[in-house]
Symmetry: C2
Subunit: 149 residues, 2 copies
């Protein structure tokens, strides 16, 4: 495989391990997603039967290197905004109990070259607020509601 | 004044109120800073004698609408990276006890048009990790260490 899952104790490998701990669901709300290793982890979860839902930004999903097409091809449900503003969140929720959020876009550039932060939060109050935002966005971006502009 | 501090119960006014609660220090680590209302709050704190330190991204600080020049002009200490990668954090620490972080860049576009999140965290463990990152960056970006490239 051209992009093995990262091993060792890098920030990327720690992030991948958190994601791979998912047993039931993975909700992703990502402005930009071009990192192949993270896409591979998400595909692996999907193949294991974890329910993956992904929300992304319409302007960024088609950029060179984006993994969104590949994930859709693999059968993962993807929804995107239909605004001129950005869907600028960058968070994941594992099994509705662990929130992973911060400044990090899921891009190779960000992981390799930027100063970034990623918070892992299991406090119910924070997880609930982000889960509710996810569900709002998931409904709002339902393709059944598209107005073609 | 052309840009009054926001009032009412908007996300921006809540953010401003958190900032204005600072009594001793405000540490800012911001990829992009163009929002005039937030700049005004920061200047107000500086005038009140709160120690404000600001770290930002070299590529973004000179963009149209950036408030960085204005803040420097007001006497606020600003340091910036000297990498090709981005200094992509977007966090503030109030009095070394309250962390404000998330996806939100401090721009009018982000506040008015994007889907964003801002977390307010007072848990010591999280605040400490971000305070340490701030101090590392503050030292690393000390102008005494510049290599002109």
């Amino acid at each position: 495989c051209p992009c093995p899952l990262p091993s060792g104790d890098t920030a990327l490998s720690r992030l991948v391990r958190r994601l791979l701990s998912a047993r039931r669901s993975l909700d992703l709300c990502l402005f930009s997603f071009s990192c192949p290793q993270l896409a591979r982890a998400v595909q692996l979860l999907h193949r294991r039967g974890v329910r993956v839902r992904l929300v992304t930004d319409a302007q960024y999903m088609g950029l060179h290197g984006s993994q969104i097409g590949r994930l859709r091809h693999a059968g993962i449900q993807v929804r995107h905004d239909q605004h001129s503003g950005y869907m600028h969140h960058k968070f994941a929720i594992v099994d509705r109990r662990m929130l992973i959020t911060g400044s990090l876009n899921w891009t190779t550039q960000a992981i390799q070259s930027n100063r970034e932060n990623v918070l892992v939060v299991e406090d119910t109050e924070y997880v609930k607020a982000f889960q509710e935002e996810f569900e709002r966005i998931w409904e709002e971006y339902n393709p059944a509601n598209y107005r073609f502009f």
